[in-house]
Subunit: 224 residues, 2 copies
């Protein structure tokens, strides 16, 4: 039986991010047509070549199995809700395409299949998509989003779906219970950094496991 109010058994807030050797989680010049920024796809090739990732994203058969497979399987397992920034959803009202309100990057059947809480300045009614994904728009900050996500997750974990600024806010507040950094041995040169204005404190997160392949080194952190 899950008891949501004790630390030992409560659901965990989890962050997984792919990061370049020079610290970027996305390349420069992010736009609607290139949400990963210039060169940003280089951070995700290791994942998209995996059969496990292709299956989760509905990209069809094919793909490979390697030592990164458990990282992707664990990423998607036991998640009851996600939290993302508005740019990860797509403009709610916005910077791009203001004439055409739209329903985000994720298509009619987003790959979440659970409630997703979008941090935004702009209130909007919940958006029900196919396949079990509902986007909720949260205008009162990360603590509220986490509270709502935890209730929705009903004992399962909560995943921070990005982007970097959203991850930074949760890290800075010491709210992240588990973090997996997938370090890709390339340089992007510029773009969006994960660790900005973080001070010198990982808020109790300790390196607990390293899994290396030639394409990516996964660093798993947890609170002991």
């Amino acid at each position: 039986m899950v008891t949501a109010n004790t630390n030992s058994t409560r659901s965990k807030l989890r962050l997984r991010a792919s990061i370049s050797l020079d610290g970027y989680t996305a390349g420069p010049q992010q736009s609607k047509n290139n949400p990963l920024g210039l060169g940003g796809m280089r951070l995700h090739q290791w994942a998209f070549e995996l059969a496990a990732m292709r299956a989760m994203l509905g990209l069809g058969d094919g793909g490979i199995i390697n030592d990164s497979t458990p990282i992707i399987e664990q990423h998607f397992a036991n998640v009851g809700a996600s939290i993302m920034g508005r740019n990860m959803f797509g403009p709610v009202r916005g910077d791009w395409d203001t004439d055409t309100p739209w329903d985000g990057w994720w298509g009619d059947n987003p790959p979440f299949h659970h409630p997703v809480f979008v941090l935004t300045q702009h209130a909007r009614a919940p958006l029900n998509m196919e396949g079990g994904t509902t986007f909720y728009f949260v205008t009162d900050g990360i603590e509220s989003a986490l509270h709502q996500a935890r209730q929705a997750a009903a004992g399962k974990d909560i995943s921070i779906a990005g982007g970097a600024q959203t991850a930074q806010q949760f890290l800075r507040a010491g709210l992240v219970d588990e973090m997996t950094l997938s370090l890709v041995p390339v340089l992007l040169g510029s773009g969006e950094r994960l660790f900005v204005n973080q001070g010198d404190d990982l808020h109790g997160l300790k390196l607990v496991q390293t899994i290396a392949t030639p394409e990516v080194v996964h660093l798993k952190f947890a609170k002991p």
Copy 2:
């Protein structure tokens, strides 16, 4: 027999750096009294606890052996010359203590025991120290320093002893043959970054090996 003029057998230019999760090789507020910067020692604890490191630095007996030991042993093995920036040597003429010309951070018997080429704007006669270390002061740039170091090394490898700006110059010029990053899972928050103005190109360096301990993850890069 070593043939210095062919690529296949020429001595290698090697870079090893300890780097924080947020990309710093030294903390903020570096000074004569704190050359590693605030918190910078956190990047080097894994090395200083090793028996191999204590032996090389003449710190006496004691210390441990673990999976990081080969990294330190390889770092010191087969090096015939080093190259460093002026701040790694200490001010040649300088920013600090201008009334007292001095002989650098390294004491009477520096731990190099081979020729060390110091990149500087200020010409100075070579400085012979105890134990086989001679500091040579190079005022005409990194290519000249590398040429002189390669001649002095007589077929052995050349080590870039830092700091970050010196490493950056050699990386940017594509001159580094092997790079070992010792990634320490802490944040420093600010300080001196290794990867600045590097563009998006590692100049042919590829990840070839990862060695992980709970304290540090060593990423070894080489040109195939």
